[in-house]
Symmetry: C2
Subunit: 164 residues, 2 copies
Amino acid sequence: MAVEMKKVFTIALRLLALASTVVAIVVMVRSHDSAEVFNLTFTAKYSNTPAFKYFVIAEAVGGAYTVIVIFLYSKSILGRLIIILDTVITVLLSSSISAALAIAQVGKKGNSHAGWLPVCGQVPRFCDQATISLIAGFVAAVVYFVLLLCSLHAVLTPIFAAKP
Amino acid sequence: MAVEMKKVFTIALRLLALASTVVAIVVMVRSHDSAEVFNLTFTAKYSNTPAFKYFVIAEAVGGAYTVIVIFLYSKSILGRLIIILDTVITVLLSSSISAALAIAQVGKKGNSHAGWLPVCGQVPRFCDQATISLIAGFVAAVVYFVLLLCSLHAVLTPIFAAKP
């Protein structure tokens, strides 16, 4: 019964991670806004920023991996190898959300020392959409981090217990 | 003999990670340069950029943790709990280097769509020092990632072997 509960909990977490990556990708890819500054039209979209492109690619890899794992999980093929793959995906998701957040922070607050002005005043719709996408990406990274810690705890506990 | 070799290899990797974090912190904290643009003196230092501050803090946490683990490792106190802590440090280091690299990329190349000009032309010395620091931080993150995968492989192998 406890094992069944744990399986359901794990699959629920993976479905949450999958939903988060899908929301992150769709909202980020569809996000755009344009502004006119000094008669120059200025279009904001995710593909103008390498960190956002990396974010979308990482979310796509994370989402695709999650689909494969949910599909294989019921067949118990991969077994504990999943922990190693989960580690890689957790690092990938946390790395990409960090890079995207660093750029988003400059977009929102600017950096007066470097002379980089905030752009969210000009393209508020793009910033709102990017914020939603980054929140979804952050949720996906946190879910994977929790999943990984739970798996590690479960795998290591019998080893701890076996050691006097 | 194989176990001894593995211990030496692991400690060597941790010493390399420690050295990398120390280099990353020292070079980043000491980095500075100033330029005069339109009669305004413009000083570049790591503390002007939140992502670089996060990078220095993460490297400090990673370095301090590495010292503690090397000290405790010989006494075999923490045992396999180290794997869980290694996971946390790996995620922290990879997240911080990603955020710092995202900002460094804008510093070097700028982002014409957002109107952010590259600053490395004005403060080349700061950029060179930041680059050295980021390379060291990248090495630390990669070393921890390799350490973690090796530990996971070692822990999971008997489990794989036990399963027919």
